[in-house]
Amino acid sequence: MQIDDALLTKLEKLSYLEIAEDKREEIIKQLSEIVSFVDNLSELDTTDLDPTFGMTNKGTLLREDKPSSSHYVSQSILSNAPHSEDNFFIVPKIIE
């Protein structure tokens, strides 16, 4: 399958990424090559196979929903964050 510029633009949007103008042609070529390769999956007959794959046969394990918190962890994260004040992360203005 061939990836085109419109599809790359869509993927950039989904990925919150911007591919530089001078890199687009190369990445389109690389992605197309990879996707064409993985198209070989369609050669395999998987009609009767369950699409839900889990690493254990028991499914996802659940735990009790007990609240817990660490003051040290939250303070450490805030103090090393790119921009924080008091107990908040500071971000550019969202509402004009």
């Binding site: 990836i3 599809l7 790359l8 869509k10 993927l11 950039e12 989904l14 990925s15 919150y16 990424l17 911007e18 591919i19 890199k23 990445i27 690389q30 992605l31 090559e33 990879i34 996707v35 390769f37 993985v38 198209d39 070989n40 999956l41 369609s42 050669e43 395999l44 998987t46 196979l49 369950d50 699409p51 839900t52 794959f53 690493m55 254990t56 996802t60 394990l61 659940l62 735990r63 660490s70 040290y72 962890v73 450490s76 994260i77 090393n80 964050a81 790119p82 921009h83 992360f89 971000v91 550019p92 203005k93 969202i94």
Partner: protein, 446 residues
């Protein structure tokens, strides 16, 4: 370099002296670029830690620019476990950015060199860990293996590398790449050290929902290299391997026979399907896992006029090319219109791959397989992403099926580079894996 087993019998004073000595040796081999940080955490036997495993108060960056400035607020469960056994995190090992690579060339900190031949790569993504152990500047190291990030580096550098069964070792505190495939494992100088380190890090952890809650029996105290096993070999798998690897494989089969093991032939799905199922699954999971890096809460933020621009700029400037490629690819296979044909299909194929292994293990105790199609690649040789993905052909099926495997050196190729082969065991049968590997290691020593 002393082994981990030997180090465990040192006195506190001896360990202290050894740590100082080690620092100067690391400094003397700086050109390898195996260490990207000389952080220490506690006193004890020094253990090198891959740059994607959390150690409290360390800068832990996954070899990425986007995590510069991040300081870990906690210890990963494996770190807590090994501190309790007298080991101490000592230095950060270089790696491919976010463990996405097979050469350790994509790190923000620059490439790591192979100590056996510095024109070659050490393999990836745990290349710093492997190069340090092989270069005599680490007793042992922790790495992580998502599609082979421990085993090919071990093979390329001539050391032992082991990937545990999925669920055996807690992933709590491991920087997530592809969560259904990632496992932390040991890189060591020999099989026994690998068993010792594996025992230290393995076990149930309630903080990792995929950690398996079952009784844990230590393997290193029960090692039996004399066990006679039935080992499956994969003749058809060899067609894509170089002459050196093929010869090592054939020679190793003879060694195994001479040890008294029974050799049987088996067949697995063509590895081209493994590569496809892997790159669909891993990139899908990576695109989700790496969505958290937005420049807001940790790491590096780029300046944008509004929030969206801040996200996009932070990510575009913070991630390297291979990481971007995998995020784009992951979002492609998960996007509406392509999800069924790629992601769902890959999950079904994953089941086929797992069943395939289970069938072989109905009659075999272990499987012998190549680790990589060739010895260590030259630096720059795997620039083309598709070519790099193909180089993972012998390791990724094991991650897709969640099995344990161990790579050990079996000889030296004509070009002077080490050749490693891997043994693969049924899920949760690490004991047989280590027994077989230790027996083979002993037999090769002669």
């Amino acid at each position: 370099m002393i082994t981990l087993k030997e180090a465990l019998s040192l006195s506190a004073d001896e360990i202290k002296a050894f740590r100082e000595e080690l620092k100067s040796e690391i400094e003397a081999k700086k050109e390898l670029n195996a260490y990207v940080g000389m952080e220490e955490s506690g006193e004890g036997i020094p253990l090198l830690i891959k740059d994607n495993i959390q150690v409290k108060d360390w800068s832990v960056t996954g070899g990425s620019k986007i995590l510069q400035g991040y300081i870990s607020p906690y210890d990963a469960t494996v770190i807590i476990n090994l501190k309790a056994k007298g080991l101490a995190p000592f230095g950060r090992a270089n790696m491919d950015e976010f463990a996405m690579g097979s050469t350790t060339e994509s790190s923000y900190y620059g490439k790591t060199l192979n100590p056996i031949n510095t024109d070659c790569v050490p393999g990836g993504s745990s290349g710093g860990s492997a190069a340090a152990v092989a270069g005599g500047i680490a007793i042992a190291a922790l790495g992580s293996d998502t599609g082979g990030s421990i085993r090919p580096p071990a093979a390329f550098c001539g050391i032992v590398g082991m990937k545990p069964t999925y669920g055996r070792v807690s992933r709590y505190g491991l920087g997530a790449y592809a969560s259904s495939l990632d496992q932390i494992g040991p890189l060591t100088q020999n099989v026994e050290d690998a068993a010792i380190l594996y025992d230290m890090i393995a076990g149930y952890d309630p903080k990792d929902s995929t950690s398996v809650d079952m009784d844990y029996a230590p393997v290193s105290t029960a090692l039996n290299p004399e066990r006679k096993l039935r080992i499956a070999v994969l003749p058809h798998y060899l067609k894509d391997a170089s002459a050196d690897i093929q010869k090592a494989y054939v020679d190793t089969i003879e060694v195994l026979k001479a040890q008294g093991h029974e050799i049987i032939e088996a067949e697995l799905l063509d590895a081209k399907y493994d590569i496809s199922a892997y790159y669909v699954t891993a990139t899908a999971e990576a695109s989700t896992n790496l969505a958290r890096y937005d420049g807001i809460r940790y790491g590096t933020r780029a300046k944008g006029d509004n929030l969206k621009e801040t996200f996009v700029k932070s990510r575009s400037l913070g991630f390297g090319e291979e990481v971007k490629r995998r995020i784009l690819l992951g979002n492609f296979v998960l996007s509406s219109g392509y999800y069924d044909a790629y992601y769902v299909k890959a999950q079904k194929v994953r089941r086929l791959i797992k069943q395939d292994f289970e069938k072989v293990f109905e009659t075999a105790d272990l499987i012998l397989s190549p680790v990589a199609p060739n010895t260590a690649n030259k630096i720059g040789e795997l620039q083309d992403p598709m070519k790099m993905y193909l180089s993972d052909m012998y390791t990724i099926s094991i991650n897709l099926a969640g099995l344990p495997a161990l790579s050990l050196p079996v000889g030296i190729a004509k070009n002077g580079m080490p050749v490693g082969l891997q043994l693969i065991a049924p899920a949760f049968d690490e004991q047989t894996l280590f027994d077989g590997a230790l027996g083979l290691e002993n037999a090769l020593k002669g």
